[in-house]
Symmetry: C2
Subunit: 321 residues, 2 copies
């Protein structure tokens, strides 16, 4: 099933609305970007990747995931990665934790912030978490409580917010209800994932408005778009108009969803930075250093970056400019 959107008009931004002055880029390349790579990347390469991303000015670097190594062999080195990580002042290194055992490992490894990952749909909850939507909250409850007790900020990821490959369109109310449950558990931020990349801007504005109406402040919303159908940056622009100021992106566009039909992955951080630079929205990233990092990482992975901006800026200068 290809889930297609139809007839979702985008509302006009409110009178007096403006784009945020600053956007926090939540860089997911080292975790979301790498987790679907078939070949295990050396820990030294991961550490250098994180160091280069920090050097490029990124201040939130999702570092790894404490899922069971059986499910994601690529991130089986999570403990050693955190232990050897050259933590930079002012940089956060959130990690994913699926359960209490994962939280134990993360805490023992010195994690400074954590994220749980929930599903907005029953089908994906069963496939990804091996339990139903309603059961997932019971699993997250003690994780969020304990992490907060330890003084850690907790992010709640919500997958399949705009469409599900098995269920098709996902009602906005269903997504808001799931997100509200995560919020009530104590998550400080919700990241709304368009896991299969089908969203369009009217759907995005309707979703963010609905979360606002349900009492989740827009300042606590992050957007996580995939570029499967080329919509990620247009959707980001729509979200910025709604007041969203945290945007997930992956250096070089690394990553993808194994349940989407193409290999196209996350919004590329470079394409986002080009947009924000143009609009005069502050973000703190040095685009050239970031492009060099993505070109270097593409070399390690043995294939070119899917980012348009990396392809253009990372190519040898061939005249004309």
């Amino acid at each position: 099933m290809t889930t297609r959107e139809t007839g979702l008009p985008m509302r006009v931004p409110a009178a007096g609305a403006s784009l945020p002055e600053r956007v926090e880029i939540w860089e997911v390349g080292a975790r979301d970007g790498l987790q679907n790579e078939a070949t295990v990347v050396d820990l030294d390469v991961k550490l250098e990747f994180l160091a280069r991303l920090a050097d490029a000015g990124l201040r939130t670097l999702e570092a790894t995931s404490f899922v069971h190594p059986r499910w994601v062999p690529q991130l089986a080195d999570a403990e050693e990665l955190l232990r050897r990580l050259d933590r930079r002042s002012g940089v956060r290194y959130p990690v994913l934790v699926p359960n209490e055992r994962g939280l134990d490992r993360a805490l023992a490894s010195g994690a400074d912030s954590v994220a749980v990952f929930a599903s907005a749909t029953e089908s994906f909850a069963r496939r990804n978490l091996n339990r139903g939507v309603d059961e997932q909250y019971a699993m997250f409850d003690p994780i969020v409580s304990r992490a907060r007790d330890e003084g850690l900020a907790v992010r709640g990821y919500l997958s399949m917010c705009f469409g599900d490959p098995w269920e098709g369109p996902v009602p906005v109310d269903q997504v808001v209800a799931a997100g509200r449950r995560l919020w009530d558990l104590g998550c400080a931020q919700l990241s709304l994932g368009d896991t299969i990349g089908v969203a369009t801007p009217g759907h995005v504005t309707a979703m963010i408005d609905a979360f606002g109406a349900a009492g989740v402040p827009t300042t606590a919303i992050a957007v996580h778009f995939h570029d499967t159908y080329g919509q990620a940056l247009a959707n980001t622009l729509a979200a910025l108009w709604c007041g969203v100021s945290t945007v997930d992106a992956s250096a070089g566009g690394l990553g993808g969803c194994p349940y989407a039909k193409s290999a196209t992955g996350n919004l590329a951080t470079e394409d986002l930075v080009w947009l924000l630079d143009g609009l005069g929205v502050d973000h703190g990233v040095d685009l050239d250093a970031l492009v060099r990092t993505s070109v270097w990482m593409a070399g390690r992975l043995g294939r070119p970056s899917p980012s348009r901006a990396v392809a253009a800026l990372g190519a040898p200068d061939t005249g004309g400019g």
Copy 2:
């Protein structure tokens, strides 16, 4: 020189603004898409490409260019293409004409509408037209007059509207002055080209507003974005908010600018259709038929389509949906 945009805030759409109910997609794949292909495509393939695009519901198919065959060998078959073209009812087949000799050839071949191509910058005018910006209008004047006398609509392309690889940023006033000259010559529509793909949404809204202030109605403006830095669809969304309802796009994202550093080309028609479908904006195109056409054409050209939507929809179904 890489021309980068900085600090161009996007204005809020006017109160009561809405997206257009219908967008005319000006399909440039057969001309702009193919003209930079090194290997000459068989005329039979071009004709089948145009027939398939019409079958997919596109109603404006830029067919070829009557430039001198020495400059664009790919389109040296322009006369024979128009002669053998299976013209469909309700479909326009505009062609490019650089000079009076080109117009003579186009008229003799039965062209139903024509376009001239001008430059907003001195550097590109000299390189592309071998004359200065001010001299180009004298060349276009008799073309536009004669074409109008023949009852043909004339489009004016304006290149390098948002940045120039030799000159860097291009002032909005300079672009509007050039466009206004084309308008005064009698062009019925202006297509504003971001030839090197650097534009961002604030620049787009400022440009369209400035044309409006200079007396060129927004209904006569088309936008022509390149996806070099991944910005084309976000820019299109900004233009739609300004009231623009004609958008240039290329099936499968074919084409590119030889003066931009990457091979990334025009906005892909499929990515645009996905956006418009989602927003509920009418366009008349059958996305599946269009994707099949682009996959077929990619096969003829021997490389995959750069369109995200084509990559996703044209791939074999690999589970999950």
